[in-house]
Amino acid sequence: MKRYFTRKVLIYLLTFFIAVTIDWMIPRFMPGDPVLNMLAKAGSVHAEAQEVMYGYLTTAFGLDLPIWQQYFNFWKALFHGDLGVSVLQFPRPVADVIKSAIPYDLLLLIPSIVLSWIAGNKFGAFAARSKKLDNTILPVGYILTATPYMWLGILLGWVFAIILKIFPISGAFSYALKPAFTWTFIKSVLQHWFLPFASLFIVQFGGWAIGMRNMIIYELEADYAHYLEALGAPKRLIRKYAYNNALLPQLSGLALKLGVIVAGAMSTEIVFSYPGIGYLILMAIQNSDYFLLQGCFLFIIIGVLLANFIIDIVFILVDPRTRLGMQGGS
């Protein structure tokens, strides 16, 4: 158990280290002197921002210092939670701006990932090798996974918000309301949440259903399945074993797909002007707010690493082999 975790944590720490290094390196070594560009652009948005930026640049970026010292200072600032100042929402610190966006991301990502994974797997297993369903689930599932998240978002928004006027098209809650713990507010939040959630859910659902359908077909061709069949075991039992075996690759598939799902959530937020990190990124790009962009990058990495770690823990809970292997190892 200990060895497994130390190994995993080590990989994640190393990944974080490399990600921070990339975050530090890219603005410095990209052609065209982006740091100076950043300053010039900041000045054009807010005159007084330029001075603050310059102050930050000299402490955190420390452009006149030797390279290794610059790198060291970057880490130091990072551990103090100092990611610079946002140009877009001057003079709010970047960390602060991102913090207020994160709840919206979690609100979209966690339910859509968990629910689509469970529902997709169940449906895929149900459809596998049943002639009629299989012929519809296969093309429909592949078309869904091939759909760009934002396009499905655009279509859903167009049909349900513009034509049918059932749901609102933008924002996280009605502009007329102030955040409060009241029914009207919660209702407004749910109404605004539904369409972005639905577009994320539908695309992911297709992927999991297809994945499970393919896994089950492989499993049903495996020797143990044929053996059980020869023994005269009921079909339901064989399928249950196949399902349990297929769940594990689906779980590691989830870890692999996290990045794509996060990217999908980002673009969906843009469609619905949903104030999560994706929407911040669009704003940051349009206003050349590079500090904010770099902060978003770090937060996405941290989020994905944490999610990976959670999946590792789930793996131990679900897979008896990991547990046994770990007991034997320690």
């Binding site: 890219i26 760009p148 655009i154 918000a161 990217a263 990495i301 994905v304």
Partner: protein, 285 residues
């Protein structure tokens, strides 16, 4: 003689496979539109030819944008960008994946540990975040450059899969025989190992091709697309910023997404077909 017979058998199953045929036909239709479409475009790309928005008509096949640009011109040139991204981005990612997967899987030892470590680390970092931070700092962005960046960040899962496949082949007799006969590493990899997993490599390329297209669409949509020219993701970005949804200009935002979905979906379905052709166990009974 034996090889010829095997090719014939694969061809026989390929021609009978409905999924493969449907996928191929759809992809070819879009390739044809990408190649010949611009010849039929009446208006130059991105020029403000009409005063404002127009629904599709005989004059403007696919209507015009809110600013009066011809949607058909953007669509056909955007399709070209899509295929360039697929070929260049998917190609680079597949080749890097092959290089790293083959070397690690064949050589083993510290080299494998090292390459596998890098692969695992980049696998965890979301490609999209990496692309975001790299592309954001480029002032001038072109489709080819975007594709190269996509290729450079998307290889890890291919490397991992190819490494695993190589492992299973390395201990076979024909590889031992090649080693005994004094063949060099590269010659063994490309002469003995690669041909035995050709179908697998080809399918990896198709998946990378589709993945690169989707990645580019996301980047373009978020505002980091090519600074000149057209792409399908950019069209959706412009449409969203131009409030096409609120104003109901469906001809502006439906075609680009539909084309991406159709192309990538067709590629995926083609892949299932190929899997059935190469893997007799999966053929329909």
């Amino acid at each position: 003689m034996g090889a010829e017979k095997k090719t014939n058998e694969i061809l026989y199953f390929a021609l009978r496979n409905g999924k493969l045929k449907i996928g191929l036909v759809i992809v070819f239709i879009f390739v044809a539109i990408a190649i010949f479409g611009p010849l039929f475009s009446k208006y130059p790309l991105n020029e403000f030819v009409a005063g404002g928005p127009n629904p599709p008509s005989a004059d403007y096949f696919m209507g015009t944008t809110a600013y009066g640009q011809d949607v058909f011109a953007q669509f056909v040139y955007g399709l070209r960008s899509t295929f360039i991204v697929g070929i260049v981005g998917g190609g680079i990612a597949t080749m890097l994946g092959m290089l790293i997967g083959f070397l690690g899987g064949y050589k083993g030892g510290w080299l494998d540990e090292f390459l596998n470590g890098i692969t695992n680390i980049i696998l965890v970092i979301p490609t999209f975040a990496l692309l975001l931070i790299m592309v954001a700092y480029l002032k001038l962005r072109g489709v080819v450059l975007e594709s190269i960046f996509i290729g450079l960040t998307c290889w890890p899962w291919a490397a991992r899969a190819i490494r695993a496949q190589t492992f299973s082949l390395v201990s076979r007799e024909f590889v031992d025989l090649a080693k005994l006969s004094g063949m060099g590493t590269l010659k063994i990899i490309f002469g003995e190992i690669a041909p035995n997993m050709m179908s697998y490599l080809f399918m990896t390329f198709i998946l990378q091709f589709g993945g690169a297209i989707l990645n580019a669409a996301t980047l373009d949509f978020i505002g980091l697309g090519p600074t000149q020219g057209a792409s399908l993701g950019l069209m959706m970005n412009w449409a969203t910023i131009g409030s096409a949804l609120l104003l109901g200009y469906w001809w502006w935002f439906v075609p680009p997404g539909l084309a991406i979905t159709a192309i990538v979906g067709a590629l995926y379905i083609m892949n299932v077909g190929l899997d059935e052709v190469f893997n007799p166990k999966l053929r329909e009974m």
